[in-house]
Amino acid sequence: MAGTNRSTAKSLMSTIGSVKTGVILLIAVGVVAAAGTVILQRPMTEPEQMERAYSPQVLRVLDAVGLTDVYHTWWFIALLLAVAVSIVAASIERWPNAWRFYARPYRRPEPHFRAATKNKVEFPIIDPDTAIAAAERALRRQGLKPQRVIENEEVSLYAEKSRFSVFAVYIVHASLLLIFLGGIIDGVWGYKGYIRMTPGQELNTVDLRDKRQHTLPFTLRCDGTGQENHPDGTPKRWWSKMVVLDSGKETLNKTIEVNDPLTYKGVRFFQSSFGRSDEVIAMEMDAIPQTVSADKSEVAQIPGAEHVHFRLDTKKTAQIDADTTIRLLQFIPDFFVQDGQIFRRSNNLVNPALEFAVVSKGQEYKVWLFPNAGQSHNQSPFALDIRDAEFANYTGLQVAYEPGQWAVWAGCILMGLGLFVAFYMVHVRVWAQTVADGKGGLVLWVGAAANKNREMFEQRFKEVTQEIEKELKSSQPQATASAAAGK
């Protein structure tokens, strides 16, 4: 019973780990990923644009299947996980063989292996010991480190290079898994969002992409932001001076730019946009003396009276003349009127309303200006006109918390190494052995194998054998001589 279970598990494993499964999964990932580039994706497209591009029925189907946000659907993630599982299964399947190959190198070729080896040469010799010694010297000179293998009192040579390159495939596959792991960690614990700040503002919440908000464990303050241009007017550089306030203390100060983010507690802030906000910081204004009728129903300008030009800082009080001051009470970027009351419609600068307090000779007047409508409600001694307004700049920052990115980068580096080993490191094996030539004599059999780049290796093998031949020639006569002397 247990036996059949094990064999079912084994066959399941080999199915999951087969190259066929792997390639089918890769094709599926490719097709789905390609679909995601052709169909508009919700996270990157405005809802109105989606509605314009697809009819309601089509859009409903696409949404239901998840094709409008392919890369975040459960089934796409499941597909990627299936790829990972297939890689793991394949690695487990193949590991015993690879390990056996690595741990127990084949040091002494048997006759059938010698016959099957493609790269081989035989040199006739007289004395096995001198021949082996000569071959050993030659191999060493060629940069190979031969070991002596002694079996049944016979000595043979075995030399190899880059044996570990048999693991290259494992390195590459492990690196891919590491990258997946990083992606999963970031998907689960990481977040990405956006903040928009104007100088002076403090903030500790981030707007996430899915419209939720995330509260940072610290507070961020913007101390200034700006843009520098190229001579042709296109932007050259955006910068923002940021301060991190952690438990009430200024802990970090940094001017960030594009490609130079601020990192604090693993959260990174990237300069991503810059522009004019709808927040007014100062106005250039004109004040024209006027008279107000006793019942306050009519207002008339005083003929010949001089215009007073002044600048009003929105956070300060300005002087119109010796007796009169003015300050801004409220600024509504987009207003509407209902039941005689003024309300805010939106935060976009569409149809602004401004309320001022004008204090003249001890009396305070509330003044409303509606610049777009060209209207006002003003019974103060001065008619007011806005000539120009200065807006605060805002800085747009991308916020990213990616605790898994170390795994991604480690994976990338590992993959680079793995691919290098896989494609450019050659496992070379050379054997030298004395064998009977079948005619009563002896030969030195030299054979070699390489696991890739075989043409280059043939050349190399030729060099090695030439070296051995030379060494044999120079040592053999002496060997014969000494052997003769010994007799």
Partner: protein, 484 residues
């Protein structure tokens, strides 16, 4: 490799003086083109980037003509002169790129124009190297026309040295793009050797006929699908004053309709598709005589392509045409302007991709005809099928790590600039798909022992995906890589 070269020499027993008239024609027209170009340089310095690029184009064209001549006739001298022309073009290309580098103060990788400049440079270099090292002289007959199409395209693209937008100001840009160019050039090489493998491997001529006709008609079908508008062809308007595409408010491009041209493109689609249709009919009904008809159809297809190109040249170069979207408010406003009473202007530079698509189709048909005429001769010029198979595999072994590093460096840079290493933007996704295709190739080859024809088809598919990632994504699927 050395034995390969010697065998090549032994197989070319032609006399030394063969083919002199053709050499004279190509040589004289090169000189003539250079002189003509020189006469056009009325004032201003001679060694500007534009002039050097033009010289590059002339030399690459001469090289293409000679390589194809070599392919058709097998005359060894043609190959020698072709290499020389390619080398001269390469020198000019290097000067143009160097000039741009020194003017911009940064390597030329910022716009699609600059990327092509670097791409062509890499392709020419690799061709010269492969030729020397492996003796595959015929490779130029694929890569030299590719270079000509690219440089022609560059002549039409905006080549102003523009400052980099903030997101592109990073050392990673150079690393990323260098890797991309090297990887894509290696992919192009593997494509060329895979094609040659198919030729050497006795693939039936008609299969190549079907491939050529199918891909050409696909180009025209794509143009018709996106640009056909009630018989007219919509092309982008041209703003001659600013030398750029006519842009409406909000960044959309202004399209104008060239009347009747749309029908011509429909005709071209049908006629270029005729050989592949005939091929399938012949296969299904087992009528081999239809294949002969298909071969004749390729000639007609080539003639129609040239005609369409000529018509496009005449119609789209200058002239004023009605807007494609006359109800657009900005367009209506612009039509009040008396300058646009007769319509809006367009120019060839506004349609670089239509043009290069058409040119590629013509080159593909010419290459097929070369093959059709000189099948046996060509096969003798090629190294053994085994060598070509191995060279294809080796170039992919170079391309794949480069692709990996390109994606990794892009991810790292995106992480620096935008705070995300991966956000499934179309270019990223397609780069990953390219990677997957080549990963599939390697798996099939290494574990399943795929060799020869199937591997060659895989390599060709890989390069098709590369081309789509490089051009298709930029123009069809806009995203973050909008800069290039």
């Amino acid at each position: 490799m050395g034995t390969q070269a010697t065998r090549m020499k032994m197989e070319e027993p032609q006399s030394v003086s063969q083919g002199t008239p053709f050499l004279l024609v190509v040589g004289l027209s090169t000189v003539f083109a250079l002189l003509l170009a020189l006469m056009n340089v009325k004032s201003g310095p001679l060694f500007t980037e534009g002039n050097m690029l033009f010289a590059t184009l002339i030399f690459y064209s001469a090289a293409s003509a000679l390589y194809i001549g070599f392919g058709v006739t097998g005359t060894a001298r043609f190959a020698k002169f072709a290499s020389a022309a390619l080398a001269l073009g390469f020198v000019m290309n290097t000067l143009a790129a160097g000039h741009r580098w020194s003017v911009a103060g940064r390597p030329p990788f910022a716009s699609i124009y600059e990327m092509l400049l670097s791409f062509v440079w890499t392709v020419a270099l690799l061709t010269l190297v492969t030729e020397r090292k492996y003796g595959v002289k015929l490779i130029g007959s694929v890569t030299a026309p590719l270079a000509v199409v690219s440089v022609t395209l560059m002549q039409l693209l905006n080549s102003d040295v523009r400052p980099l937008v903030p997101a592109l100001q990073s050392t990673w840009l150079h690393i990323h793009v260098t890797l991309a160019m090297l990887a894509y050039a290696a992919c192009a090489m593997s494509f060329a050797t895979a094609l040659m493998f198919l030729i050497k491997d006795n693939i039936k001529s008609e299969t190549l006929l079907a491939l050529t006709s199918g891909s050409t008609s696909l180009i025209y079908a794509a143009i018709v699908a996106t640009r056909f508008d009630g018989g007219a062809l919509s092309v982008v308007g041209w703003d001659a004053e600013n030398k750029q595409d006519a842009i409406l408010q909000g960044g959309a491009r202004l399209f104008v309709n060239i009347p009747e041209l749309g029908w011509l493109f429909v005709l071209a689609t049908l006629i270029t598709a005729a050989p592949v249709v005939l091929y399938f009919v012949a296969k299904v009904q087992n009528k081999d005589n239809l294949l002969g008809v298909a071969n004749t159809a390729i000639f007609i297809s080539l003639a129609v392509q040239v005609l369409t190109l000529a018509a496009f040249f005449l119609r789209a170069n200058g002239g004023a045409y009605p807007p494609a979207d006359p109800l657009n408010s900005t367009v209506m406003e612009m039509m009040q302007n008396p300058a646009f009473r007769n319509g809006f202007p367009t120019a060839l530079p506004a349609s670089p991709f239509i043009l290069s698509g058409m040119l590629s189709g013509i080159f593909a048909s010419l290459l097929y005809l070369m093959l059709h005429w000189r099948r046996t001769g060509l096969e003798n010029l090629l190294p053994s099928a085994d060598t070509l198979d191995r060279v294809t595999y080796k170039t992919i072994c170079v391309a794949f790590p480069l692709l990996t590093l390109m994606i990794a460096s892009g991810a790292y840079w995106a992480n620096q600039a935008w705070g995300t290493y991966w956000q499934w933007d179309p270019k990223e996704t397609w780069a990953a798909i390219t990677w997957l295709v080549y990963a599939g190739y390697l798996h099939m080859r290494l574990t399943r022992g795929w060799r020869g024809r199937r591997a060659a088809y895989f390599a060709i598919l890989g390069f098709a995906v590369v081309m789509f990632t490089f051009f298709g994504v930029t123009y069809l699927l806009p995203g973050l890589h909008a800069y290039a």
